[in-house]
Amino acid sequence: MTDALFLVLSALAVWSGWRVFRVDSMVRASFQLLVSFIAVGLIAVLLAAPYIGIATVFMMAVEMMVMALFMVMFMMNPAGLNPMSMVHQHRFAAITGGTAFAGLVAAVLLSDLPANPVPPEAEAVRDLGRELLGPSMLIFETAGVTLLATMIGAVVLSARSGRYGESDAGSVPPGLTPGGAPAGRRPAQGGGHHDHHWGH
């Protein structure tokens, strides 16, 4: 039963992972990736990690939702109404991907993997909690600071108003002396290449 479920879920994970790069619609691509994540999450539940598995599902659901928003926002032809190819260096990429797969499989098959399975009475979530609040407390709090830095960085980068004015207008810092040249490096001129990428 477990093995059959594992087989189905693995096939689903790999197939939908592959479809991500084969569909024209960006929304479909994002949610195809979500399907792959869900399948992996469910495999994790099979592997006696019920927390990591289910949490992957909910984390990835929102992340892929956001991914879809941005994909639609910034990709031409986001729904794939015109068939398109967004691929470059296809051969090189395919060979590299294939090689990576072959190499990893060889490494897995050739190396002697230690066998020390999870004891059936283990309480995965409780152990994780103890670890978080005990030995790995620093990791936990560092993660907090990292996430804060991410938030601030993301807001600064994406907001229109730069520190010294609107970012698309240059956001030039004031001079060091009154009326002097702006401090720091001057942003290059010439944004707004409007049509240069429509002709594919």
Binding site: V27, R28, F31, Y51, I54, F58, V62, V66
Partner: protein, 297 residues
């Protein structure tokens, strides 16, 4: 496990019908009990309207996914001690995953017809539903604290002494905000609404519309059962058998949710977004801190 699933599947149709009846109360159009059935039957006999170049597969599947999420969400609710359809040790997280996937499904429902109003509704909904989901997770973690477990069964058992409603009075109202968002109604109905001519379902007709409304009602049932379990002690109660208590509490939460949906006005989305992050989210922090201090020995 299989028995619990069968009970759920048996109980769902009447509860869905009850949800439709609740929605009809107070609209002043009579035929309270039969009205929803008749209108549903009429919808099933109408054709599904195609649109220009839609995403056919996702359009067809969206109501099914929505219903599926309602069912899976419902399946973590224990009907009696030990009687639960999916006995996961992290049931609360699974419920959270259902919430998160609901946002995806509603977005897909609005995206797939390739039409302006559904698209507007879908995007507006995502903006509001994402932070609303955050609220519910904090509130549910508050419910998990006294239980020292993420299993829904343990959350119920931890309420033998006192219901979570008493421990965290803010919990149920905040959770209800999420319920309104999940079931697309009232102040959180950003997927639909009169100013979008129905929003994500503006282009749906016939059985597709019926399936979507059915799934929405099923989601109300699932949400209410979860709220009753997490805050009102689930199957716990004197005299009557456990499942009956759960049923009564579920019906009560359903009625309260429908009423709340009618009572509060929908804000422009930007205003609601600020309210969620700046008022409701800190409230849920406060709620969590309150429970935290209470349950410490």
């Amino acid at each position: 496990m299989i028995a619990a699933t069968l009970y759920l599947l048996l109980a769902l149709p009447p509860l869905v019908w009850a949800a439709a009846v609740f929605d009809r109360i107070g609209t002043g159009r009579g035929a309270l009990l039969a009205g929803p059935l008749r209108n549903g039957a009429a919808l099933l006999l109408r054709p599904v309207a195609p649109t220009e170049a839609p995403d056919r597969l996702n359009r067809l599947l969206a109501p099914g996914w929505y219903l599926a999420l309602a069912l899976v969400g419902l399946s973590v609710v224990p009907l009696a001690p030990g009687l639960v359809a999916s006995d996961l040790s992290t049931g609360l997280v699974l419920w959270g995953a259902c919430e998160a996937l609901t946002v995806v499904v509603v977005f897909l429902h609005g995206w797939s017809p390739n039409a302006p109003f559904p698209l507007l509704g879908a995007y507006r909904y995502v903006a509001i539903a994402l932070p609303a989901m955050l609220l519910s997770m904090f509130v549910l973690i508050g419910a998990a604290l006294p239980a020292q477990s993420l299993s829904v069964g343990a959350v119920v058992e931890a309420q033998r002494e006192v219901w979570n409603l008493v421990r965290q009075p803010l919990g149920l109202p905040l959770f209800m905000a999420l319920g309104l968002a999940l079931t697309l109604r009232g102040p959180f109905d950003y997927a639909g609404g009169a100013e979008l001519a129905g929003g994500t379902s503006a282009e749906e007709s016939g059985p597709a519309l019926a399936a979507w409304r059915l799934a929405r009602a099923a989601m109300l049932v699932a949400f209410s059962a979860m709220a009753a379990t997490a805050f009102l002690g689930g199957y716990l109660g004197p005299v009557l058998p456990g499942p009956l208590w759960l049923l009564l509490k579920t019906l009560a939460v359903m009625a309260a949710t429908v009423a709340a949906g009618r009572f509060f006005a929908r804000m422009p989305p930007a205003r609601m977004l600020t309210l969620l992050w700046v008022v409701l989210l800190p409230l849920s922090f406060a709620n969590l801190a309150l429970v935290g201090i209470e349950v410490l020995p």
